[in-house]
Symmetry: C2
Subunit: 257 residues, 2 copies
Amino acid sequence: MQENYDCVMENLATNPLIEKLKLLMDLTDDEVQVILDLSFKTQKLPKGQSLIPSNSENVSLVMDGWACRYKILSDGRRQITSFILPGDLTGVRACLFGVSDFDTETLTDCVTTLIDGKDIARLFYEAPRLAAAVTWASAREEAMLTEHVVSLGRRNARERMAHLFLELHSRLEIVGFVEKLAYGMPITQEMIADCLGLSIVHVNRTLKAMRKEGLLEYYNGYVILKNAKKLRSICGYDSNHLEGTLHPEIADYDPDA
Amino acid sequence: MQENYDCVMENLATNPLIEKLKLLMDLTDDEVQVILDLSFKTQKLPKGQSLIPSNSENVSLVMDGWACRYKILSDGRRQITSFILPGDLTGVRACLFGVSDFDTETLTDCVTTLIDGKDIARLFYEAPRLAAAVTWASAREEAMLTEHVVSLGRRNARERMAHLFLELHSRLEIVGFVEKLAYGMPITQEMIADCLGLSIVHVNRTLKAMRKEGLLEYYNGYVILKNAKKLRSICGYDSNHLEGTLHPEIADYDPDA
DNA sequence: CGGCACGTTGACGTTTTTCAATAGCCGTGG
DNA sequence: CCACGGCTATTGAAAAACGTCAACGTGCCG
């Protein structure tokens, strides 16, 4: 698994993921090319590695695989603050502002491409629309964290679970990793527990109950939403927080106006 | 309380809060002036109002008072995702990306100043360093949300409480609203409960226990951290997530390099 | 075959919530 | 001036949600 993955980058321009991201952030071909040119290294990371070495000044764009951001308390308790999926950009805060307050870890083998933080910083001067796109990604992350706070603060285990599965479905759908109501979710129940602030045992039991009610299937790294409508009503799911497009004042800036 | 607060703006340049913000974000006098010039309305909002009307395209800079961001579930449960304190900028995501996924409410009378979202958007083209400052504020918010997720997911009531009081102290200290280890916290226990994902009763009991142990005083809208060291050790508090400075590549950009 | 990681289940403990009642404060209207 | 209602803080008792401990099964892999 130490192959050179530059091949992945060579046809990145036609990579379906890149195509989706282009649409999502409303980027032009030229802008996509700027990003691709900045990317200096594409690699395959094995499962269990840090996505971004802690003192690195790079930003990482995940092309394939799952990772997570987490924090460990002094006594070993772990909280996963977010899952990182294909299309996600990680490390912006660390490289722009010199602070990194969590760790990252690949949950499966991942293909990632790295961009020097310096280059991201320069976008603010040299490619305002791309700087705005970076801010957009960051704001989207913030929206997901907000939803996560709501889940952990005011939803019970069953509701948290429903929300997680639905949100993952929405996110994966956007980047084309979904087959109707099914998607691969190659992580353990322990990680779900650490994400949802529950114990492994309780996750297991809640999952069992939801399976029994015909809400979803979950086995072998696959999820099938059997009754998405009911799942949505259980937690009041709304994918609004994943939406959002660039303000027209940025998207269509006219210096003469 | 419907007075015109433009007076507050008139000497904003010498307003101690603005001075702190200047240092915090490493802005020049000129840059501060740009912001002040963009600000088109300074007002006093009574307690219990929305900080930003839901379909408004404005950004709000809080000069004085407390507010919060929250979300209400269909059955009435409420989760406060963050407290908004003097110096905080709110509504960036809504105005830049056209999505607003939570509501805001003033918890006390507040003095705020409004900036048109259009003007914020234009900063990306016309004042890259200020655009970066906006991104900085947004990233800081993200870091606080991350900590909030950790608290709600993996800390018990006592630890959450300790973390909240310490973080509020750090934040208020940065903007000069702290007197040594004491600060005003003009909110009810219900709001603390809604922030920490607990019931009012449990907040009350936990508070009582912490008072008894000499950890803190909390009465009449004031907090005194009696034993900050122990409070920090209880929750493993670290104010790192509030830090961070602009990447030198942005701060000292040299177009000829 | 043995070891290991993960999933599953039961019994029991702890934390936190809910329900219900009381007390203090404060502004309003009589 | 005082009674009253509304909001907040406080407390007790009981219930629910969730965690911990421990055991066992299962599949994978060397």
